[in-house]
Each structure stands twice: as structure tokens, then as C-alpha cells.
């Protein structure tokens, strides 16, 4: 159970570190504790939990598996009740700042108050257009030149003047795939043509 909870905690903290970890120096989200923001400490704490749990499991011996009800000592009881109070406090704060469904938590958490007048329950995430995608809202598809609409008349600038074509011919190279770009170097009077992962250097006749 501890491993499962720590695994979930690492996932959620890694999600926050992933969003903010690459920002500039000193930039981050919410409070900074000893030079690191809270989500970084969350990731570290859960990682320590996983390591500690793994180490403890290595120390388990057959005798430890004997079923025996153990009475908690005072320190363990206090620890348990502190844990319950902390979890309870989180539940109260999460409810006050988010509200019951269909209200949703804001992407940027808001200030907490015990005064219900200051609570702000939001339905903003339900505003259309609601974008649901397996990879997230910013799942950008690879560009495809063949999907472009070539008709100039439908362009955003309307009717445009046409350039006179001085010549048109196929290149004299046998490529290992469709070309993806062309460049010219005046210093050496040669062309460069690319394909997916290859580069062709050609003379001025494109051969």
C-alpha cells in the first residue's frame, strides 16, 4: 500500500515538476522551501518513501510474517493521529477551494479562507469548446505538406499577382525519399537537398 501511494504521489508531483521544473532560475509555483518549490519536495519525499519501503522489504524475514496483533506505542499513536489530522485538513481545504462536482479545481489554486464568502467554485473548465484528447489538449499532429490546400484563390490574402515562371524541370538526382528542402551556396555554387534523414549535395545543375 505504501508503495502504491508513493507511486501515485510521485506521478502527481512529477506532473507539477514537469510543468515548472524547466523555468528560469527562481521561477516556480507556490512556496519555496530551502531553495526548492513544494512540488519538488513532494517528488523527493515520495521517492524517499519508495526507497525506504524497498529497503524495509529487503529486511523482512520469515519470522516477521507471523500473524500477531501488535499494540501501538504512544509515539506511533500520536503519529497516526497527526497523519489523520493532516489528511483531514487537506480534505477540508480541497473542498472549500474546489467544491462538489460538477465544480472543478482551478488550474492555479486560489487563496484559502475559512469564510465561505471568499470561496470561489469554478465551472470554467466546462466552457466550450471542451477539448478532450488522449495526449492532452496540446497534442500537436506532425505537419503534412500533402494536406495543404494549394489553391491560391482561397488564401487569406485573396487574389494576388502571379510571378512569371522562368523554368521548370525535375532535379537530376535519384533520392532515397521525397525531398524536404532546398538550399544554395553561392560560395561553392552548389545546392543542398534534404530528405527525411539524409542530405544531398549537388552541383549547380542540380545533378
Amino acid at each position: 500500500m505504501a508503495m502504491l501511494i508513493a507511486g501515485y504521489g510521485m506521478l502527481m508531483s512529477l506532473r507539477h515538476v514537469g510543468m515548472h521544473g524547466a523555468r528560469d532560475v527562481g521561477q516556480g509555483f507556490s512556496l519555496e522551501i530551502m531553495g526548492a518549490h513544494t512540488y519538488t519536495w513532494a517528488l523527493f519525499s515520495y521517492w524517499v518513501c519508495v526507497l525506504a519501503t524497498g529497503a524495509l522489504l529487503l529486511l523482512v524475514r520469515p519470522a516477521h510474517l507471523a500473524i500477531e496483533v501488535r499494540t501501538l506505542n504512544m509515539l506511533e499513536r500520536v503519529t497516526g493521529w497527526v497523519f489523520v489530522v493532516v489528511v483531514g485538513g487537506n480534505i477540508v481545504q480541497a473542498f472549500a477551494s474546489t467544491g462538489p462536482p460538477p465544480f472543478m479545481g482551478q488550474s492555479d489554486p486560489i487563496r484559502f479562507s475559512f469564510n465561505p464568502r471568499h470561496w470561489h467554485w469554478s465551472l470554467e473548465e466546462w466552457r466550450p469548446p471542451i477539448k478532450v484528447a488522449f495526449r492532452g489538449r496540446w497534442a500537436v499532429r506532425k505537419p503534412d505538406v500533402t494536406a495543404a490546400i494549394p489553391d491560391p484563390a482561397t488564401g487569406p490574402l485573396g487574389t494576388l499577382p502571379a510571378l512569371a515562371v522562368k523554368g521548370r524541370k525535375p532535379i537530376g538526382l535519384s533520392l532515397d525519399g521525397p525531398p524536404t528542402d532546398l538550399a544554395y551556396d553561392a560560395a561553392t555554387d552548389r545546392f543542398l537537398i534534404t530528405i527525411d534523414a539524409g542530405i544531398y549535395l549537388a552541383d549547380a545543375s542540380l545533378a
Partner: protein
């Protein structure tokens, strides 16, 4: 054909699919992937084929790999590019974003050749003197720039969408001219040679027009 290096694009930095390539200074050239990752190469007839096995799948004895890294952007973040251009005057490399299924936004990014770091990003607008007008609810971001080249302070960009050649003044950041190229379909590259522009189509056909 003089030489033909095939890069191992999956090694180290994922280069994706080459979308743009240009000649640089010092006899070097750069190939930029759709994801703005790049590799800088230098032709070398005495290259060590064994040493270069780690970089190239072909022509290991004709090229050296100088650098392989990624261009970082701000406005152009989360957008793919399909073109690259080099401006010798400013010693800079340019990339231009293409529209996606999420957002249609044309962002021109300039990277300083000396440290390959983002030095300028601009969203082009129309020059008043150009006599160009955007349609209602239309955007320059609809153009899909697949080839670009710099000459005399102008960035020439060919769009596969609507087969349109845009001329961007790099000093004012404004589109100063737009032309259609008759008979052009699926352009993938553009090169400036003298007073001409060479437009390469996906079918391997080169169309030559005079610079506007």
C-alpha cells in the same frame, strides 16, 4: 551528386524529420528537423569513417558532425517548423512555424549563429505600402511555410498552403509582397540563387522564378 550523408537521427538528440537545411559560414551546413532539433555538419574528404560510425549511416568518410542540439523558442514553442534560412549579414538562422491542428500562428524565430540561441522572435504583419488585405477572420498563420531563403534583407518564404510566396522585410518585420506561383504544387523547399528563386516541389520538380 557530390556526396550523400545519411544521419542516424535517433542517436542522441532526436532530429525527427529534416524540414530545413542551409549552408552556413566556415564551410558548414545545418539540417533542422521539424521539431527544431538540428545537426551541424562539415564536409571533410578525410573524415574518419570508423570514428563517424556513431553519427552517420552513409558517407561516414566525407562528413564530420560538428554539433547536434535543439533550438529553444518562446512564441514558436509547441509549433513545428518546415523551413530554415541563413542570413549571412546578421550571421543568423531563421525558422518559421507552420499551422497545427491546435493553433494557426506564423512565428519567425532568429537564432544567433555564434551560440545558436534564440535572439529574436517576430509575428509578421502586413506592410501598409504592400496593398495587401487579410480576409475577414483570416490570418497569416494559415500559410504553411515549407521553404525559406534570405537575400538582401528580405526573407522569402514559400507556402504549401495556397502556393503563395511571401516577402518579409527583416528590418520592419512586415510582409511587403505576396505572389502566387502558377502551377506550383506541394512546394517543400526554396533557395535563392542570384536574382532567381528556386522552388522545389515534393515530386522533385524545380520551378524557377525571378525574385519579386
Amino acid at each position: 551528386m557530390k556526396s550523400h550523408p545519411i544521419i542516424d537521427v535517433g542517436f542522441s538528440v532526436d532530429l525527427g524529420r529534416f524540414a530545413g537545411a542551409v549552408f552556413l559560414d566556415k564551410g558548414e551546413l545545418i539540417a533542422v528537423g521539424e521539431n527544431k532539433s538540428y545537426v551541424v555538419l562539415k564536409p571533410n574528404d578525410k573524415a574518419n569513417a570508423d570514428s563517424n560510425f556513431r553519427y552517420f549511416r552513409e558517407s561516414r568518410d566525407q562528413f564530420d558532425e560538428v554539433a547536434r542540439s535543439r533550438f529553444g523558442t518562446v512564441r514558436a514553442r509547441m509549433l513545428y517548423i518546415m523551413s530554415a534560412a541563413y542570413d549571412a549579414a546578421s550571421n543568423s538562422i531563421y525558422t518559421i512555424t507552420v499551422p497545427s491542428n491546435v493553433v494557426k500562428r506564423m512565428v519567425v524565430s532568429r537564432f544567433d549563429r555564434r551560440d545558436m540561441v534564440l535572439s529574436e522572435e517576430l509575428v509578421p504583419t502586413l506592410a501598409r505600402s504592400a496593398g495587401l488585405t487579410l480576409g475577414e477572420d483570416r490570418s497569416l498563420g494559415e500559410y504553411m511555410i515549407t521553404g525559406a531563403a534570405v537575400g538582401d534583407g528580405q526573407l522569402y518564404a514559400i507556402s504549401a498552403a495556397h502556393s503563395t510566396l511571401l516577402t518579409l522585410d527583416l528590418a520592419t518585420h512586415r510582409i511587403v509582397a505576396a505572389h502566387v506561383v502558377p502551377g506550383l504544387r506541394n512546394p517543400v523547399g526554396l533557395a535563392a540563387r542570384g536574382s532567381d528563386l528556386y522552388l522545389l516541389g515534393a515530386d522533385g520538380t524545380v520551378t524557377v522564378v525571378a525574385r519579386p
